[in-house]
C-alpha cells in the first residue's frame, strides 16, 4: 500500500529541471536532433518500436531523445502515447513472401532460390572499435550496387512443406486475440502468444531462447531463414470496402526449423518456431522464434519441463513495461506499509524475548 504524500512538489520540480539539464548534457556540445537519432541510431529506434508495439520511426526517435537513451523508458513513452490515438482497424495480414528484401539468409540450404543475401549486417565484422568513427566528417565509400536487383524469394519453410517434411501452419483466418484490448488469459492461443513475444523484452527473449539451446527445453534449432526488408501494409477502410496500401514498414522475420519426433497424430517431421518484429531486429526475431517453438510444447504433446515451455511463466514476464512498472514501484513511498511491518516485527521480537526470559527463569 502506498499513500498520497504531500510536500514533495518543490523537490520534484527541481529534480525534473535537473533531469532536463542532464538530458541535454554539456550545452557547449551541439544538441542531437530527432532526425539524427532516427537516421543514425536506427536499431535503437527499431527496438523501441518493437517493444513500444507502435511503428513510427520519428516518435520512437523522439522517445529515445526524451528518455536520454533509456530504451525501456522510451518504449514506455511510446506505449503511453499510443493510448491517446484512435484505432482505425486492423490491417490485412502481411505477406512476408513478397517482402522487398534487404537481407535474406538460410543456415539450412547453401543454394536456394533467391540465394543468400547478406544485406547490411554486423556478421563477419571483426568487432574492433573503429576509431575513424570518432573523427567527424570522414567520407565513407558508397555501398556497391549489382547490375541485377534481387527479387522476392520463396520461403524456405515452403520448400520443406511441399515435400511433406515440414508441418504446415493452420491457415484459419480466425480473428486473433488482442492484448491491447483483452487481458492475457490461459491457455493462451498461439496468435496471442506471438503478439506477446513480438513486443516482449529483447533481453528476456534472448535469455529464454538461449536456455532452450542449452538444454532447458530440448531444442535442436536451425535457422531455416531470416529475412529483413520492407513489406506493404494493406488496410480495408470500411467506407471503401476494398483494401488499399498504407505504405511500407520494415520488418524482420525468422523461421526456426526444429525436429519433432512425431506423436500419435503427427508423423515425424520438422516444426517451426516463428519470429516477426518491427524494424531490423534479427537477434529479437531469432529469440522470439526459439521461444515460440518452446511454447508449442503442449500442442505438440511434448513434456513441459523448462521455463521457456511454460506459457504462464514466459508470457506473464516478457513485457518490460509491465515488469519495470512493478519492480520500480517498490521505490515509491511505502511508509505506512513498512510502519506496520515494523510494528509487527517489534511485537514478535518482544514475545520471543519474553519467551526466552521465561525459559531462563
Amino acid at each position: 500500500m502506498y499513500v498520497a504524500v504531500k510536500g514533495g512538489e518543490r523537490a520534484i520540480s527541481a529534480a525534473h529541471a535537473w533531469l532536463e539539464e542532464t538530458r541535454r548534457g554539456d550545452a557547449a556540445v551541439p544538441e542531437l536532433t530527432v532526425v539524427q537519432i532516427e537516421q543514425q541510431m536506427g536499431l535503437a529506434v527499431d527496438r523501441v518500436m518493437a517493444e513500444g508495439s507502435c511503428h513510427d520511426r520519428f516518435l520512437a526517435a523522439l522517445a529515445i531523445k526524451q528518455a536520454k537513451g533509456d530504451l525501456i523508458e522510451a518504449a514506455f513513452l511510446l506505449r503511453a502515447y499510443r493510448t491517446t490515438l484512435p484505432r482505425f482497424g486492423a490491417s490485412e495480414p502481411l505477406d512476408t513472401a513478397a517482402m522487398r528484401l534487404r537481407r535474406r539468409i538460410s543456415a539450412t540450404y547453401k543454394d536456394l532460390p533467391g540465394g543468400q543475401v547478406l544485406g547490411p549486417t554486423f556478421d563477419y565484422t571483426h568487432r574492433l572499435l573503429d576509431f575513424a568513427l570518432a573523427a567527424e566528417g570522414v567520407e565513407r565509400a558508397a555501398a556497391p550496387e549489382a547490375p541485377t536487383p534481387v527479387e522476392s524469394a520463396p520461403r524456405v519453410t515452403e520448400l520443406l512443406a511441399r515435400e511433406g517434411l515440414m508441418q504446415r501452419e493452420v491457415a484459419e483466418d480466425a480473428e486473433p486475440g488482442d492484448l491491447t484490448r483483452q487481458p492475457l488469459t490461459f491457455p493462451a492461443e498461439r496468435p496471442v502468444r506471438l503478439q506477446n513475444l513480438a513486443r516482449g523484452d529483447e533481453g528476456f527473449l534472448l535469455a529464454l531462447g538461449y536456455s532452450t539451446q542449452r538444454g532447458y527445453g530440448n531444442a535442436h534449432p536451425f535457422v531455416g531463414e531470416i529475412r529483413v526488408g520492407h513489406v506493404t501494409v494493406e488496410f480495408t477502410p470500411p467506407e471503401l470496402g476494398f483494401p488499399i496500401e498504407l505504405g511500407e514498414i520494415g520488418v524482420t522475420e525468422c523461421q526456426m526449423v526444429n525436429q519433432f519426433k512425431g506423436s500419435r497424430t503427427e508423423p515425424p517431421q520438422f516444426t517451426r518456431g516463428y519470429g516477426l518484429v518491427f524494424g531490423h531486429g534479427e537477434r529479437r526475431a531469432m529469440a522470439m522464434s526459439l521461444v515460440d517453438r518452446g511454447l508449442r510444447a503442449a500442442e505438440l504433446g511434448e513434456d513441459i519441463t523448462a521455463p521457456a515451455q511454460n506459457a504462464e511463466f514466459v508470457l506473464y514476464h516478457s513485457d518490460n513495461i509491465e515488469a519495470t512498472g512493478f519492480v520500480e514501484h517498490l521505490k515509491l513511498p511505502h511508509y505506512v506499509d513498512f510502519q506496520s511491518e515494523l510494528e509487527n516485527l517489534r511485537t514478535i521480537r518482544r514475545s520471543a524475548e519474553a519467551a526466552i526470559q521465561e525459559a531462563a527463569e
Binding site: 486492423a90 490491417s91 543475401v117 501452419e169 486473433p176 491491447t180 516477426l276
Partner: protein, 151 residues
C-alpha cells in the same frame, strides 16, 4: 466512377498506393505548375490514429496482431467525387493532398493530366528507389565460387 467492394478500380488502388508513399513536399512540388484544383470541403479533416498490423504465424498460418502503426486519414468532397486517403505516418498535409488527389483523379476530365504529371513521376521515383536498394542487396549476394573451386 462506379466501383464495388469486390471490384475496386485497379488504377485507383495504384494511385492511392503511390500517394501513400509520397512526401507532402514532393506532391506539392508536382502540383505547383498545374492549374489550381477547385475548392474542396472536408468530409473528415486529417486525423492521425492507429492501424493494428497483422502478421501470420509461420508467415502463412493464422493471423496474429504484430503491433500498431501510426496512420493518418482524410476524406474530402470535390464536386461530385469523394476522395479518401489512409497513409502511414502522421503527416496531415500528405493525407489531405492524397485525399484531394484521389477525388480529382476520379474525374475523367482531370485524370490523364494528373496521372501524367503527378502520379507517374512519383511512381517512377519510388520504383527507382526500390531498385537502387534491390541492387545494393544484390551486391551482397553470396557467390559460392570459392567453394566450387575447392571441390
Amino acid at each position: 466512377m462506379t466501383q464495388t467492394a469486390t471490384n475496386p478500380d485497379p488504377e485507383r488502388r495504384h494511385w492511392m498506393a503511390v500517394l501513400a508513399r509520397a512526401g507532402a513536399a514532393e506532391i506539392t512540388d508536382l502540383l505547383a505548375p498545374l492549374p489550381a484544383l477547385p475548392a474542396f470541403e472536408h468530409l473528415r479533416p486529417p486525423e492521425t490514429g492507429l492501424v493494428m498490423v497483422r502478421g501470420r504465424a509461420g508467415g502463412d498460418g493464422a493471423p496474429f496482431n504484430l503491433g500498431e502503426m501510426t496512420v493518418t486519414r482524410c476524406a474530402v468532397r470535390l464536386g461530385e467525387a469523394v476522395g479518401h486517403a489512409y497513409v502511414a505516418g502522421r503527416d496531415k498535409v500528405q493525407a489531405e493532398l492524397a485525399a484531394l488527389l484521389d477525388a480529382a483523379l476520379q474525374d475523367p476530365a482531370r485524370r490523364d493530366a494528373l496521372m501524367d504529371s503527378v502520379i507517374a513521376p512519383l511512381a517512377a521515383r519510388q520504383q527507382a528507389a526500390r531498385e537502387a536498394e534491390a541492387r545494393r542487396a544484390a551486391a551482397t549476394k553470396v557467390d559460392f565460387l570459392a567453394m566450387q573451386t575447392i571441390r
